[in-house]
Amino acid sequence: MSATVEAGVDRSVAGTPVPSAGAPSGVDAPKPPWRLAVRAFSRDKWAVVSLIVLVLVALAAIFAPLLTPYSPVAGDPVNRLAGIGTDGHLLGLDGQGRDIWTRLLYGGRNSLTVAVVPVLVVFPLALLIGLFAGFQRSRAGETLMRVLDVLFAFPLVLLAIALSAVLGAGLGNVMLAIGITLVPYMARVAYTATVQESSKDYVEAARAYGANPLLLMFRELMPNVVVQLLVYATTLCGLMIVVASGLSFLGVGVIPPTPDWGIMTADGKNVLLEGIYHVATIPGLLILVVSLAFNLIGDGVRDALDPRKQTS
């Protein structure tokens, strides 16, 4: 769930033991854990539907030129603000006479990129921070975590707004701003997962018989931490769709006339007062659907990895 991110830093990992994908598999394990998880996931119909929706949205954004004859930036001023169902313009036209369906398709490229790329880039970084700080519990690692904690004093959205405000608008800068904002959140989740995992018996045992700590960390611990971070990252993508579009809505994100769902919503704000609703409502609805889809997938993955909810 998107908004739990701030509240849920601990909660999302406070979950349950995850089937240890990388742990030494016992002889009596009939099926690899990931297959159980895939089966459990495929039984969650909301998660599956969400996955299909996301794949379709991504494909539509990638193949945008094939799905529309219009340009996302050039408008037809004569028919400006024509409503839903106009001939040739299924979703109508915006205030500059640009086809909304076309701008949704092309806008998806920016909106999805800006939201998902920072999460993907920060993922390995946060994983390493969390692993080193959580496993070795060295002074340097603990200090780093304390320093990152200070960033939690800023509401997530506010930090993203402040950073993009000083960095300036533009695709690259927004991704940088969102990336910086995400580091403390993702590192905290990786850290908590590592600390929890380190206290388990198999790690204690491996330590006791003198396993190489680095090997232990990367081969045995990391897969379990990765899985927990992955669940969190999925729900973060859902939140970041809303946040990134929000930055564009405020004018500190993607620069117009580049299509973006947040900019499209902002465009609709001006004509809304004249009683024309479709320009603002359509892109916002899409943001909601995509964000919800990420969250449902995140919930589905979390449940699928929970051995208590898997039935083989």
Binding site: S2, A3, A7, P155, I161, L250, G284
Partner: protein, 319 residues
Amino acid sequence: MTRVIGSRLLSTVLVLFGVSLIVFLLLQMVPGDPAVTILGTGATAETVAALRTELGLDRALPVQFFEYLGGLLQGDLGRSLTVNAPVTDIMVPRFANTLILTGAALVLCIVIAVPLGVIAAHKQYSIFDRASMVISLAGASVPVYWFGLLLIGVFSISLGWLPTSGMYNPRFPGGFGDLLAHLILPAIAAALVPLAVIARMTRSVMVDILAQDYIRTLRASGLSTTSVLWRHGLRNALPPIVNIIGLQVGYLLGGVVFVEVVFGWPGLGQQLYTSITQRDIPVVQAGVLFIALAFVIINLFADTAVGLLDPRSRRATHS
């Protein structure tokens, strides 16, 4: 308890120190020479140099920071670059307006979300439970700015019930009633997402508690459902719920920035928006600082409240 509050106060002071450091560094993060960026490339060398001196950019970084911090402690947040006035004078009245909006939204969240969660947990798996949880799942994904626009479209434009923007009627500024009419829609818009999250959390906390032995014992001993639910169940669920509410205030304050822009509410968020477009960095810094300050202090209160509500947490806190 005093010791717990004391150690919590100390860590709050440290956090606030960190917050002011980060807010200070925001200016340093402006790419290139901040003075040039702020003035634009057309500025003459003299004006740039003058602004550099005014901002203190010609001095060493730690010196700059401690001067900034010293100013903060005296309530001096620098001067606005666009309006010739001290930032403090611009921001303090706006901060009050933001607190009015945030407070109203928070009250709305609590009085709706907590009972909703409790009833959903009581009637687990009923239609009511499923419906409210599906709605709150979707509600948690709603973009605040979009929801605000929807509210304006429906209740201000189509139905004409409530004003579209502002805090008071500009021509006939009334008293409390006028404020209330302007407050309803923005408060609802700001409250939606945290409300959804708090309702879901309340439900899951209550579900765990209602499954415990002492609740069964209370039920078996013939206590009324109302008493079991609200006096004994909710009483024990409160500490985690208060914690969640404290953290959700962060989301609320972030959302309020968007709500103020959409509804033209004269608060910090709207000022942030204006100042960002004008690249008035000192005002942006002050806005961020005020909001972080509010968030930290509200969580300090929430933690203290948890300590009062739950004697166990007092022992568990190690200083």
